[in-house]
Symmetry: C2
Subunit: 187 residues, 2 copies
Amino acid sequence: MTLSGMALEHAILVSLSERSGTGYELARRFERSIGLFWSASHQQIYRVLKRMEEAGQVAVNVVAQDGRPDKKVYTVSAPGRAELRRWLAEPSPQAGVQELAVKLRGALFGDPAAAAAEMARHRDAHAERLELYRQIEKRDFPAPDRLRGRPLHQYLVLRGGIRMEEGQVEWLEEILAALHDDGKDAR
Amino acid sequence: MTLSGMALEHAILVSLSERSGTGYELARRFERSIGLFWSASHQQIYRVLKRMEEAGQVAVNVVAQDGRPDKKVYTVSAPGRAELRRWLAEPSPQAGVQELAVKLRGALFGDPAAAAAEMARHRDAHAERLELYRQIEKRDFPAPDRLRGRPLHQYLVLRGGIRMEEGQVEWLEEILAALHDDGKDAR
DNA sequence: TAGCTCATGTAACTAGTTACATGATTTG
DNA sequence: CAAATCATGTAACTAGTTACATGAGCTA
């Protein structure tokens, strides 16, 4: 067991925590709601579910059906819930949008304060990166209107980085404000 | 040969087109300029360079050094240039920011009009996706201020999707405007 | 009757990561 | 003297993709 990465495992734990289901159903869910960003083939999901079952994170309930193959309905078991709670509280330093989305949708199955702390960490990290990119922009491209050819292309790539970081920071600010209100309300 | 995907190969072709270099150097470049988004370990790069050499896309020039191992300086060969030009003109339907950044930086080594056409395709695709997300937002979350718990988290994930698509569309608009001016100037 | 949905999987392959190994030179 | 830089690689592993296979029921 490596216990690093494990992204799809955690996405599955979140989805099955929301509602038990078959591998087939999970594959379809990943195409839709969570799958705004995430995608996973049914082959991949079947393989991972098998591994998770062997590791005791999920339990299977085989349901016989007539006219079509037996269904294997998966449910998160106690060790799976514990693992999910652990992962939700732990920092994911390299997390992209997808992984944060999974953590958000998992927030109800862990500690809400830990979720907010994780979002704040990422907001800070992206704000720092944004600041760095803006400094590079100012230093290397003081007059962007006059750029042509290669330097123009380099500049445009940097602009992409800036825009992506801006989007990320704003999104995380929105999340933190909303989670804050949500917490106030629950108290 | 599969010829699908091949992302790292093309990033290497672009980087070596800008300037010949060793695998080690490529690994460092990927940490910096292009590597705003891209990253590749030296192990991976060495393996891919070997494959590309066998395929005739790059040529090696072994440079003896004293006190340290021989350098292998790689240069793009004619078939490599052809393959790069082919890929630059071809649509990459699933391309993310990184891949578009590579295509941008490669624009000088292919047909500029084809590069602009590819960017326009992506702008349209992202604009369409954005429109879809906005419709889902309006339909499923008409009063976002009152959301709590799970629906709130679902809403925030959707907001992330909207912000990312907005960023992408605006970036691609900026690219198209700049490429247009650049082309006008060259004529 | 052709194609989609439900429901499972195997096999082969491609891509990428992590750990390990070597060894001189330069910098703090 | 320790750590980083230059410069190469192998081996083992994890993750993900693509192609193939089966087969009933339902829909246009």
